[in-house]
């Protein structure tokens, strides 16, 4: 009975989403205040029913209702309750419901924090989000109903995929979806602006905090997925250029371009056309990611059971949403114009260059992801594009990007002085060269490694000097705490994200260049050496988990005879899914990670063990977290909240003539 209520709630939500997607649009078109006023309450109602539906599915999982096919397929009575809750998004149907739930949350947030915006804009934004919701609710109800019953009920469930039974996995999908779906807000603002013909600095200021927040979530989501792969897949890799990873990376790249382009539109009322296009593209790539994961078009470790019907539906939906948006863009953008002018050597130019590089990077990833598909569709055979392609095309693009990142903030808007910038760059160049040389001489690094270390130093020094200059610019005698507090959060967010990028680049370069590993077949009491470290296999015990049995090893790691870590890697066997799992043990340190994983037992009682030493591994994660924090800090800037209290008409909109 309860699952049927959930189903019914989703049907009601669909009805309300239809209203939300149509009446406010008509109202905004005709200038009918009553129809526009429908937007907020209906959006709240839709969110309420979606939440009821989602809650019912959670309830079905927690109470082990195996008469629901989806529950039976993704859970088990022996599964601990926290994993039962996250089993909700462990399969296809529940992931789609999670998508809708998060869209509802973003819609409510927009409805709540848009009181001071023009009512036409709010009506259109909420309506566009309603239409997106209609598409996903139809997809859920007609092709992937999570509440479908299979009677008589299964005695027990088939259990959650053991790979997903992990704390990182509880958080990864919701956070990632917060990012994906969050771009729908920027998308809705873009469509509303194109419909209303009003696209100006005020519009950019309204869009910015939402985009920054979504981008921050997306960064965090990708980080969580990557960190999970690092310790859960058992061999210490953290990025595989897998199709599904690429699907999340492409919107991130375009989203990064978008937050920079928005800053130009807000500050200088320039780049208007381009910003709107980026807002459309960022969300389009999120949808494309969903298509790639759900349709089974691409084979990937993440792909759910392939189903052509679902793929066809999403493709149709994609064509309508993105095709419609781009058609609207083609129609309305010519009248929007580029906006303010700027000189060749200015911050605008550099941000344009940043946008071009980021868009090109996203393009190369898209090409690499879809190339196998294209060849296949043209009947030219099946190939696979792997890390060699991405390393070859992506790295050369990212180095100039890192270098530009340090220079951008040094340039003035509109017209910068080349002499001034060159003077300020001198210590940066010297510092980067010094670090690169140090790497070459002291670490005997390769040229590529030296370039990576030099680029990271360049960005870190450049960002630090920029921060110092800004703080020194305050009136003499001002206390430092005062100076820090008086500097806007938006600017601090930029400093944090740029510094994070530098830390990340340094971590990646050092790990890639200096990591070492050894495979050994060990019996208890034996040990293997790796550099200065010695890993001794001390003991092995049998452990019984709630839904698995495991062999747990104890490894003592010593350096010069002193114990530095004790590690407990496990080899688990999940009894319901009959799946073996490697649980690696990692000793994390500020300067290095030590990593031990048990591969398998050989016939004569020894274990194949893989030990790894990864210098500065933690810096990769720290850098990613700093980047995500930068986005969140910038989104919290007081300016965006202050702007909301000012009536929109005071924001001096530049009106745009409508075509015809």
């Amino acid at each position: 009975m309860i699952p049927e209520l959930g189903n019914f709630a989703l049907i009601l939500a669909l009805g309300l989403a239809l209203v939300q997607g149509t009446l406010p649009l008509v109202g905004a078109w005709r200038g009918d205040a009553r129809l526009m006023a429908v937007a907020r309450p209906v959006a709240l109602g839709q969110a309420l029913f979606v939440t009821v539906g989602f809650g019912v599915l959670v309830y079905a999982f927690v109470t082990n209702d195996f008469s629901v096919s989806y529950v039976a397929g993704n859970s088990n009575s022996r599964l601990p309750v926290q994993y039962r809750v996250c089993s909700v998004w462990g399969g296809h149907e529940g992931s789609v419901l999670l998508w809708i739930q998060i869209l509802a949350l973003w819609t409510v947030a927009v409805a709540a924090f848009s009181r001071s915006l023009p009512r036409e804009l709010v009506a259109r934004v909420i309506a566009v989000m309603g239409l997106v919701s209609v598409g996903f609710l139809c997809f859920l109800l007609f092709t992937s109903n999570p509440f479908a019953r299979s009677l008589p009920a299964a005695l027990d469930g088939r259990d959650l995929n053991p790979l997903l039974q992990d704390l990182g996995m509880i958080a990864h999908p919701p956070i990632l979806y917060m990012g994906y779906v969050g771009f729908s807000v920027a998308f809705a603002f873009a469509i509303a602006a194109l419909l209303g013909g009003r696209l100006d600095a005020a519009w950019a200021r309204w869009t910015r905090p939402w985009t920054l927040l979504a981008w921050s979530f997306l960064t965090l989501g990708i980080f969580l997925g990557s960190a999970w792969a690092y310790y859960e897949l058992g061999w210490g890799g953290w990025w595989f250029w897998d199709a599904v990873e690429n699907a999340s990376f492409m919107p991130w790249l375009v989203g990064t371009a978008l937050i920079h382009s928005l800053s130009v539109t807000e500050k200088r009322d320039s780049f208007r056309n381009w910003t709107v296009l980026l807002a459309i593209l960022a969300f389009s790539l999120s949808l494309l990611g969903t298509f790639l994961v759900r349709s089974g078009v691409l084979t990937s470790v993440h792909a759910f059971a392939s189903d052509p019907t679902r793929g066809l539906y999403i493709l149709g939906f994609l064509a309508v949403v993105i095709g419609g948006a781009l058609a609207l863009y083609a129609w309305r953008a010519p009248s929007v114009g580029l906006g303010g002018r700027f000189a060749l050597f200015s911050r605008e130019s550099l941000l344009l260059l940043n946008n071009v590089v980021l868009a090109a990077a996203a393009g190369t990833v898209l090409l690499g992801t879809l190339y196998p598909l294209a060849l296949d569709a043209l009947g030219l055979g099946k190939i696979s594009v792997g890390p060699p392609y991405f390393d070859a095309v992506f790295v050369p693009l990212s180095i100039p990007l890192v270098l530009l990142t340090a220079v951008g903030p040094m340039l003035a808007w509109k017209q910068a002085s080349a002499r001034d910038v060159l003077r300020r760059l001198r210590p940066v160049v010297l510092g980067a060269l010094a670090f690169a040389l140090l790497a070459l001489v002291a670490l005997r690094a390769s040229a590529a490694t030296a370039v990576g270390i030099g680029a990271a130093a360049w960005l870190l020094i450049g960002t630090a000097l920029e921060a110092a200059k800004r703080l020194r610019a305050h009136a003499a005698g001002t206390r430092w705490s005062r100076r820090i507090a008086a500097t806007p959060l938006g600017w601090w967010g930029m400093i944090a994200a740029h510094a994070g990028l530098a830390v990340f680049v340094l971590g990646v370069t050092v790990v890639k260049s200096f990591e070492t590993s050894a495979d050994a077949s060990l019996r208890i009491g034996e040990s293997v050496a790796l550099g200065d470290f010695r890993f001794a296999f001390e003991a092995l015990e049998r452990v019984e988990g709630p839904n698995y049995i495991a062999a747990r090893g104890r490894f003592e790691v010593t350096r010069d005879g002193k114990v530095v870590a004790t590690l407990h890697p496990e080899k688990r066997f999940y009894v319901v899914q009959k799946m073996p799992m490697t649980e690696a043990a990692v000793d994390r340190g500020a300067l290095r990670d030590l990593y031990v994983s048990l591969s398998e037992a050989t016939a004569d009682g020894a274990w194949v063990v893989r030990v790894q030493h990864k210098p500065l591994m933690g810096w990769i994660w720290a850098g990613a977290l700093l980047i995500a924090a930068g986005g969140a800090i910038a989104a919290a800037d007081r300016r965006y909240r202050a702007a909301k209290r000012v009536p929109a008409s005071v924001a001096i909109p530049v009106s745009i003539p409508l075509p015809n």
Binding site: G73, A154, R158, N273, L277, I280, L281, S284, F291, S295, G296, V297, T299, A305, S306, D307, P308, G311, L312, L315, L318, A319, I322, G323, L326, A327, Y329, A330, A333, P334, L370, L373, A374, D376, A377, L378, K382, Q577, K578
Partner: protein, 175 residues
């Protein structure tokens, strides 16, 4: 105006491509087994677990090895086609019940009809590894000499039957 149409044009080229990809997939991903003898195995039969069955028993006949499981959603899609194929006695189909349990597998067959001459249980997925199975369902065409001639990844569709499987089976039966 024209340059603003460019994104739309590129996008529709992409949609066409993805649409074509959908038609091609779930596709014939090349199997290293093609042209090679079907890997040997001896697995318990689903209906009579005390008896083992291996591919050598099918020597001299063209047959299909269909990998299925009761937990596999896409198998439901192809199942009616297989049942129909079995009723027309076109080709013997051997089922490889992949990483499944006996009660659930039997319930599944009882509910939906059993198109298989017999099914064998690969409860731990070991034989699946030998055959390079990486998604259920998959279907192998094996000829009279026990050589793998074709592999279909994903559900059997009417189109795949008409265009690929049936002509190939007819040809192999003639040879």
């Amino acid at each position: 105006m024209r340059r603003f149409l460019l994104p739309l044009g590129i996008f529709f080229a992409l949609v066409t491509l993805l649409g074509a990809g959908l038609r091609h997939d779930p596709g014939e991903i090349p199997s290293p087994l093609l042209g090679k003898p079907a890997p040997a195995f001896a697995l318990p039969r689903l209906d009579q677990p005390e008896q083992n069955f291996g591919p050598e028993a099918m020597k001299g006949r063209v047959w299909l090895l269909n990998v299925w499981a009761s937990w596999c959603a896409s198998c439901r899609q192809e199942h009616p086609l297989l049942v129909d194929l079995a009723q027309r006695k076109v080709v013997p189909v051997i089922g490889l019940d992949y990483m499944d349990t006996k009660p659930e597998a039997e319930k599944w067959l009882a509910e939906r009809g059993n198109p298989y001459q017999l099914s064998i249980q690969d409860a731990k997925g070991k034989v699946g590894i030998d055959y390079g199975v990486y998604g259920v369902p998959e279907t192998f065409v094996i000829d009279k000499q026990g050589v793998v001639r074709f592999k279909l990844t994903g559900p059997v569709t009417q189109e795949a039957l008409d265009k690929k499987l049936l002509p190939l089976i007819r040809e192999l039966n003639r040879g």
